[in-house]
């Protein structure tokens, strides 16, 4: 079986091929032609990145907040309520499959809250994916904070720091550095999990592959193109996180570094 990558230069309307492979998307000052499958592929990639980025922002903000709340000491009624809430959050979003959550946000919740009916499916799927991932990030944050020696918290409090100050200046700066490796996995997972968005009509890479393999009868080429873009995206995320890890590292601050500080 031979592969025919020319198909990406084909117009999505006619049986013609664009000499530049790009139709309307990158015109190179030559005027708009028919959109090609390559144009469509790039647009689909844009949707994948958009869903992943928005979901990641939601997941990081909520995940870090919920994860931190799970580690506070339960002295007052308020802190007990907060701990209960954050535990419930994690258990709720961690125990429902992500595709089911996407359908819940798209089909069920708008029935209960009519205002959500006007939300574009792009937003709903980002919320669903963000909440799902936030539960996982929260779990990692909690583990990161608990991995610090008890003395850190005690030392901060004996210096007269408030609870907020203890977290802001002592615990979180260290815990955040510890959880960068598992966070890298989560950030890469969110790119791959964004494929569920096809189920609620976001024209991202998976939807592109499913649709174009039928239109062009060149499924293998289409899936190869999409796979390559997923790999590029996930690997870029991986490298960016590695860079962040390297830039924020403080030698001797957290024990195991690649140079072996002990």
């Amino acid at each position: 079986m031979s592969l025919d990558f020319q198909i990406f230069c084909k117009s999505t309307f006619e049986d013609t091929y664009s000499p530049r492979c790009f139709g309307e998307f990158f015109q190179f000052g030559q005027g708009a032609g028919d959109p090609t499958y390559l144009d469509w592929l790039i647009t689909a990639w844009g949707w994948t990145i958009a869903v992943s980025t928005l979901a990641l922002l939601i997941a990081l903000v909520i995940g870090i907040a919920i994860g931190t709340l799970r580690t506070i000491s339960n002295e007052t009624v308020l802190s007990k309520v907060l701990i209960f809430f954050s535990n419930a959050w994690v258990e709720l979003f961690r125990n429902i499959p992500v595709l089911v959550q996407v359908f819940l946000w798209y089909h069920v919740i708008p029935m209960l809250i009519p205002a959500l009916k006007n939300f574009p499916s792009f937003l709903l799927v980002s919320i669903a994916l963000g909440f799902f991932t936030s539960a996982r990030i929260a779990e990692q944050m909690k583990a990161g904070i608990f991995s610090l020696p008890k003395g850190q918290r005690m030392a901060a409090q004996s210096l007269g720091m408030t609870k907020v100050q203890t977290y802001r200046y002592v615990l979180l700066p260290m815990a955040m550095r510890i959880v960068i490796p598992p966070l890298t996995s989560e950030c890469m997972n969110i790119v791959k999990n964004s494929a569920v968005a096809f189920a609620v009509s976001v024209s991202e890479l998976t939807l592109f592959a499913m649709q174009t393999q039928e239109e062009t009868s060149k499924g293998i080429e289409m899936y190869l193109g999409v796979t390559a873009l997923y790999i590029v995206t996930a690997f870029t995320v991986n490298r960016v996180m590695a860079l962040i890890e390297r830039k924020t590292r403080i030698p001797g601050f957290i024990a195991p570094s690649s140079q072996g500080s002990h």
């Binding site: 079986m1 309307f13 089909h107 096809f198 499913m210 649709q211 393999q213 239109e215 499924g219």
Partner: protein, 302 residues
Amino acid sequence: MKPSKLVQVILFSTSLVGIVCATQAGTLEKITETKSITMGVRDSSGALSYTLGDGKYTGFHVEICKRVIADLEKKLKTSLKVEYQPVTSQNRIPLVQNGTVDLECGSTTNNATRQKDVSFAVTTYVEEVRIAVKADSNITSIAQLVNKKVATTTGTTSVQLLRKHERANGVNFEEIFGKDHADSFLLLESGRADAFVMDGSILAGNIANAKNPKDFKIVGEVLSVEPIAIMMRKDYPATFKTEVDNSIKAMMKDGTIAKMYKQWFQDPIPPKGNRVGLDLSDNTKNAWANPNDKPAEDYIKK
């Protein structure tokens, strides 16, 4: 890798390709030799081809294929072991090409692109793309869908059809893509979409299975016509296709196929006893009166 090694690898892989190609004898010889035939079937292609569970398959096209195989057995004077291989839209053509499936009895559109890779028996059913709306809707044609929410299913030619229609007429639909037909129908049912554009048999099947079939209706002009046919490997000479075609043509002539159409598209069908309730279209009637294997492109020119 040293160049000599590279050459070795290339030689080895090309020789593998050679072996694979050499084993592709004619389909008729293959089934005579192995005394078995593999039928490609679909899990849920409306009344054309679907599963009853437990590895059992039935439907309009599956039953036609069973009769074709019975004719083949008479012709070859031997009994054939029939094996079922479930296929999907994605893998059906490669599986026919590589010899896994001998006779694909699903819901494959006969078009010019596919004719380059595989061959099709004479058209047994002509699909018409239509519009389904809620019974209380006042939409009656595609012209009224402008700026309305239109549901259709990812991975179908209807998506392309709508896109081309939009451009040809300079109009805009707000398309919503369901991940499968049941999902697209749910979009219509829940009011997220104003219309569902899809193959008539699928619309009719979904409406028949709905909680309240009276809530929906199929309206408007026929948006596109697609010949659906039984698919097989390309053979030179095409002895297998001749046998299959002759068997189907006989069914068309003596009215067997019309009886089968009534059985699958109008009478209650297993397992739940639902009715698809789709009247025989003029296009299908024509295909039976003048058996042919013309691709979809020839239907557009008319």
